[in-house]
């Protein structure tokens, strides 16, 4: 009886000063007195952290990890849509080369698509920006910035991130980087068109858009640096009492390892970016070899640089980046699978060990992207070996997830459907990567559509499906409402069929030798004529996929206001975030959480319900009280 009145007062005050996605600050039923008291307490405790905030302070320049997480998520979703749109345009030209794009073609401008027919230069811009936007502005910000920010502090029982201001700076740095990237479409010559990998010397000779790309990247790298320091400190320092490392939810482990990858892998790309910027603006020759001749004759540069150096520095980031893309997704799938099978994740300790090992190994496999650059067979052999080794923990994780399904009473909720689809899709993506990691088959397969198929299986029906699972799963936490189930199922079934129509044929065309980066889909090449008809098929797949995303977009916005209202723990989950109110108030928890058990205590024999929440005291003790 004793603590009840205080608690409910706290709860109400928490709600008053909190926020809700529906766009209005809830005033609730409390009197003005109560509100001022809450503010007064806040003032007394920590003067800088006022609670009655203006609209700008609570929704735009907010320090609250939940608002920042949602800002990250929505910005990233918009970028994902934008990047996908670029690809849908490109797919038109691949399916019907030389034909004008209907309707949209008229708005692309004379410099890009005269008469609605896409120019090769414009196709290259779209290709480079599709990759850049999807990786650096879409998936990573959604997986790490969005889910990491929103869920991680809740799952470890923290009131916020360790450095709220750095957190805000991280978002705005990301936002600026994104604006610079998009703005580069409008500079003379258009956006960067040297591929998302920006290989030198092509990129050094490219037009102005490349400079914008480099500056945009420096902002994005700064953002990820601020974010990753914050995540690591938060995870290590702000865990609730009793939350030992082996009680951390798998998602938190995945985010922690991801943050280390971002922290340590991104700076070399920043170094490379600075060097390339110098090559472009100060006429240095870091990446420019001697004796380079272009269409305008020999270049007047000092020479002596190394194009390979760029590739080394770039892939030193970009391979760990692959794991940055996939680890948070594995974390989300782990949460969703455990929750919907109603049993613990299979081999939690092995999963954690595998993730850590994966993180270490990801730093020493980068040159398998460079087997055909002439760096030498000895180096290639080394990287081939490490690449085969890194596939082991990946397989361990995937197997553990599959084994978790065995014997579970599976609930086929929408998040679970996406998580279940993730498993085989990521499996296909991973297994098709093995031939690429071996030097001999890579000779045939490199730079073909096979590669595109491989990494898209990992990232698109892999990571992005996992991210959808995460959105459907945590949506009720952020809004207090469920997303519509029927629309979710339409979205899922439409997407899973369409996305396979896009990427499965890529293995066929790739094995036939169709090159990537050809703007006409390989029309001029005799050896791919037999598989050319797949181009149109894949394009129809991509547009169908686009169509089914409309169900998601509508569902997302509609459910914010009209979704079915649910309590704090609609999925009967065990981890700490479900102990907080939905949506959680500023400061997250109404009573400071304390952890008494592991993260996935589902269907514990002898327990009163089929889930025991982490914050729930052992039953014997609670019975005594």
């Amino acid at each position: 009886m004793r603590p009840l009145p205080d608690e409910s007062l706290l709860l109400r005050q928490g709600r008053d000063i909190g926020w809700s996605v529906s766009g209005k600050v809830k005033k609730g039923v409390t009197t003005l007195d109560n509100v001022t008291t809450a503010e007064g307490i806040a003032h007394a405790e920590h003067g800088h952290d006022e609670h009655e905030l203006s609209f700008l302070q609570s929704y735009v320049f907010s320090l609250d990890h939940k608002v920042i997480g949602i800002q990250y998520a929505i910005t990233a979703l918009l970028f994902l849509l934008f990047g996908f749109t670029l690809m849908m345009l490109m797919r038109w030209n691949l399916a019907f080369p030389g034909r004008p794009i209907p309707v949209i073609g008229n708005f692309l401008g004379m410099a890009n698509a005269p008469g609605g027919i896409m120019l090769p230069e414009f196709y290259n811009q779209l290709g480079a920006m599709h990759g850049t936007i999807m990786v650096f502005l879409g998936v990573v910000p959604l997986a790490v910035g969005g889910f990491g920010n929103y869920v991680l502090p809740l799952q470890i029982g923290a009131p916020d991130m360790a450095f709220p201001r750095l957190n805000m700076a991280s978002y705005w740095s990301f936002f600026l980087g994104g604006v610079i990237m998009v703005a580069s479409f409008f500079v003379p010559g258009g956006a960067a068109n040297s591929g998302w990998t920006s290989y030198a010397p092509l990129s050094v000779l490219a037009l102005e858009g490349q400079t914008w790309w480099l500056i945009g990247m420096i902002f994005l790298i700064t953002s990820s640096l601020l974010g990753s320091v914050n995540f690591i400190v938060t995870t290590l320092q702000l865990r609730a009492p009793g939350l030992s490392f082996m009680r951390l939810p798998f998602f938190v482990w995945a985010q922690l390892v991801t943050s280390f990858l971002l922290l340590l892998a991104f700076p070399p790309l920043e170094a490379a970016g600075v060097l390339q910027l110098m090559d472009r603006v100060a006429d240095t020759s870091f990446f420019m070899p001697s004796g380079l001749v272009t269409g305008d004759g020999p270049l007047e540069i000092s020479g002596g640089g190394s194009p390979l150096l760029w590739q080394h520095l770039f892939w030193f980031l970009a391979h760990p980046e692959v794991y940055v893309l996939i680890l948070p997704a594995l974390g989300i799938v782990g949460e969703v699978v455990a929750n919907n099978t109603r049993k613990p994740l299979w081999g939690y300790r092995v999963l954690v060990a595998s993730v850590i090992f994966l993180g270490f190994m990801s730093f020493i496999v980068w040159a398998h992207h460079m087997f055909l650059t002439g760096m030498g067979t000895t180096i290639s052999t080394f990287f081939q070996t490490t690449t085969m080794i890194i596939s082991i923990p990946s397989v361990v994780i995937l197997s553990a997830m599959f084994l978790s399904l065995y014997g579970g009473s599976i609930r086929y909720t929408v998040p679970m459907l996406f998580a279940l689809a993730f498993l085989p899709m990521f499996g296909i993506g991973g297994l098709t990567g093995l031939p690429l990691g071996l030097t001999a088959p890579d000779i045939h397969l490199h730079d073909t559509y096979y590669v595109i198929g491989h990494f898209h299986y990992v990232v698109a029906p892999g990571t992005i499906f996992a991210l959808f699972a995460g959105i459907y799963y945590w949506f009720p936490k952020a809004t207090g409402r469920l997303m519509n189930d029927l629309l979710g199922r339409i979205h899922f079934w439409g997407s899973i069929v369409a996305i396979n129509c896009v990427f499965m044929p890529m293995f066929i065309t790739g094995l036939a030798g169709m090159n990537r980066r050809l703007y006409d889909g390989g029309m001029q090449y005799a050896h791919v004529q037999g598989v050319m008809e797949w181009n149109a098929f894949m394009s129809y797949g991509a547009w169908t996929l686009g169509f089914f995303q409309i169900f998601f977009i509508f569902n997302f916005f509609w459910s914010i206001r009209h979704g079915k209202k649910v309590g704090d723990n609609p999925w009967n989950a065990t981890t700490l975030e479900w102990q907080a109110p939905s949506p959680p108030p500023h400061g997250n928890f109404t009573t400071p959480p304390e952890v008494h058990r592991g993260p996935y205590e589902y269907s514990v024999p002898g327990a009163s319900s089929d889930f025991s929440m982490q914050g729930q005291a052992p039953e014997a003790e609670s019975a005594k009280v």
Binding site: A42, P159, S228, L236, P267, M278, T284, G304, L309
Partner: protein
């Protein structure tokens, strides 16, 4: 809402948030300069000929600058130690020196740059000069950052000493760690560029 362990150390990790954060930041900085030093090694290994640093650079001036930066590291330690001993006046003095010495460093560096420009020894001249300009300029930006931070803690930021002394000490410790790192980068840069 109060974020825990901003000042006092968390018992099981033995660290406060600030200290852990600054060390992680420095780890990332190590990778940044590590990337540049690796680029230097790779470019030099692949070069047909590579000049001795002394052909372009003035070793005595570089030595003086090295001494200045090491001196500022010493005053930084003294400033922190003075705070720990509770002597705020001494802290102010040492911190002033920590701010002024790198300003002197930058003036000397500026003179060196000026001399290079006079002789047309620009980054586009050769890969050696390119990496010299890039790395020293990036280091110079770090110096400017350090001057800004230390200047703030000498001036307006030092008011915190009177309200939250423990927090202020932590901040100075973090600023000091960063400052020592910047010096350390120079201690690598000087022999690599000037002497080797």
């Amino acid at each position: 809402m109060e974020i825990p362990y901003t000042v006092e150390a968390r018992p099981d990790t033995g660290l406060n948030n600030v200290k852990l954060g600054i060390w992680l930041f420095l780890a990332s900085e190590v990778m940044l300069f590590g990337g540049l030093f690796s680029a230097y090694v790779l470019l030099r290994m692949g070069a047909v000929d590579w000049p001795l640093g002394s052909e372009f650079l003035n070793i005595p001036i570089g030595t003086v600058n090295t001494a200045i930066l090491i001196g500022s590291s010493v005053t930084m330690v003294m400033a922190y130690a003075s705070l720990k001993l509770g002597d705020f006046a001494k802290y102010k003095g040492y911190m002033a020196a920590t701010v002024l010495l790198p300003v002197l460093f930058l003036c000397i560096k500026g003179y060196e740059y000026y001399e290079k420009v006079q002789h047309d020894h620009l980054p586009s001249h050769s890969t050696f000069l390119a990496i010299y300009w890039t790395m020293t300029a990036l280091h110079g930006l770090h110096i400017i950052g350090g001057i800004a931070v230390n200047g703030y803690f000498w001036g307006p930021g030092s008011k915190m000493w009177h309200t939250k002394p423990a927090m202020f000490e932590n901040r100075i410790e973090a600023a000091g760690l960063y400052w020592h790192f910047v010096d350390l980068v120079w201690i690598f840069l000087f022999p690599v560029l000037y002497l080797l």
